[in-house]
Amino acid sequence: MGWHWWPSDSAIASTTYDGRDKCANLGACTVGCAQGAKASSDITYWPHAIRAGVEVRTRCRVREISVNENDMASGVTYYDVDGNEHFQAAEVVVLACNGVGTPRILLNSVSNRFPNGLANRNGLVGKNLMFHPYASIQGIFDQPLDGYMGPGNCIWSQQFYETDRSRDFVRGFTYEITRGRGPVATALTGMFSGRIPWGEEHHQRYRELFNQITGMVAICEDLPEPHNTVSLDPELKDSDGIPAPKITYKLSDNSRRMLDYAVDRGVEILEAAGATDVMTEAPIAVGGWHLMGTTRMGVDPEHSVVNEWGRSHDVRNLFVVDGSIFVTSAGVNPTRTIQALSLYIGDTMKKRLTTLFD
């Protein structure tokens, strides 16, 4: 069909590296790596940070960030695992709680100087929440595919990534080819879609699907819309009494049309490849709800929460290094962009140490 496609960049370790073992192709990457080869942050970033002197306090919940009379953050109040309250003084506060947790803490940090929440003088904290609505398109083939063997990432296509005015939506999506499904995932897909029944027929119908499914998900680019928000729930609190976040989100017409288009094109290519049947779901319920956009980055203090190197416009020793600083969502998984931005902001802070609060 002439579509663009490319092997997925998976950063698989081909040799032992920095505390990681060589990938042995066990293939269960998303549920954890028994080989110790997966580059999860607990074995990539944390050991380096701890060796550099960082103290990690786990199972703590921050309630609020305090601020002094100069509009500078002075520290955070948090609860430990036993519910004991502590105050940690700080010269610099860096938030990395992503698109829901970060605005939740900022909105909970109310003071005389910031009555609407910290770093929220322009009212943008919590606004423009973006997700990644996903479409799933899975073909059933009449031959063994062995797709469950090996890491899940395979190839992707950005044939429909850019805006095309001939379509009825702007922006676009990436197709991520999801190879195949192991025995448990096949059962769950089949049973929840009604294709594998309970009872005597279960075994036969299961065998009509097992090792014969492959397909893709479409990662759709949600648009930033002010009415999609994270706010504070007026009643619900967590077990430490901290007000819970409240999510207000409506799937836009643009994203809905994009999902439908992705499903239609996905069905076309799977049928062209020989699929005898195609299963679709859009948006999928169990994934793609990446959290972005709620403390957006920008040079203009009227239209953004943090500046172009992650520092709050309102509070000069407060930084944000997570998905909430995204201005657009892009039709790709966000983690590597979050990492890149975090490293960039960290480097910038280091370079500007003498003028960091100017």
Binding site: H4, W5, W6, P7, A24, N25, L26, G27, A28, M149, G150, Q158, Q159, Y161, E162, P183, V184, T186, A187, L188, M191, F192, P197, W198, G199, E200, H202, H203, Q204, R207, F210
Partner: protein, 162 residues
């Protein structure tokens, strides 16, 4: 060491009558098959695995199983789910499968997870009960020439402004 060996009777979640309802129910979801030489989900080892896995959901399971039992008692003259005739049990299971509430969705998820990770079930599917790689398997090198048409096509992304 199997779950059966590690699980003490006093540690078992749910009461004995509740466990019997659960055993009957999961045997209705995935019964044993002679044709495929496969055990049912109510096989003792698989059932123990399901019990252990479901421990995080004990409250939900207690309430869900009680609802099903009460429904059976109401509709079948006081006969609980585990004591229904095979015909009545199948009919009720068929009805439940079409009305998946949160408890049943969780039950189906745990049942599928425990059933299809059982060594005997994997062997009945023609699989070896182990990861496919590496241990004696070689990974075939991909055919990188497949990328040539994509390379010839050139980039389709925009350069960053400036």
């Amino acid at each position: 060491m199997s779950n059966e060996e590690t699980l003490l009777a006093s540690d078992l979640p749910l009461s004995e009558p509740q466990r019997e309802i659960l055993r009957t129910l999961i045997g209705s979801i995935i019964p044993a098959s002679r044709d495929y030489d496969a055990p049912g989900a109510d096989d003792p080892l698989i059932f123990k695995d399901i019990l252990v896995t479901a421990r995080s959901y004990t409250d939900m399971f207690e309430a869900g199983l009680e609802d099903i039992d009460q429904q059976a008692i109401r509709d079948h003259d006081g006969v609980g789910f585990a004591a229904l005739s095979e015909t009545d049990r199948r009919a009720m299971a068929e009805h439940l499968s079409r009305t998946l509430n949160p408890f049943l969705r969780t039950l189906v998820s745990i049942t599928a997870q425990c059933y299809y990770r059982d060594d005997r079930v994997m062997q009945a599917l023609g699989m070896e009960p182990r990861p496919p790689f590496p241990k004696g398997f070689t990974i075939e090198e991909g055919d990188w020439t497949l990328l040539e048409p994509v390379r010839r096509r050139g980039k389709l992304y925009r350069d960053v402004d400036g």
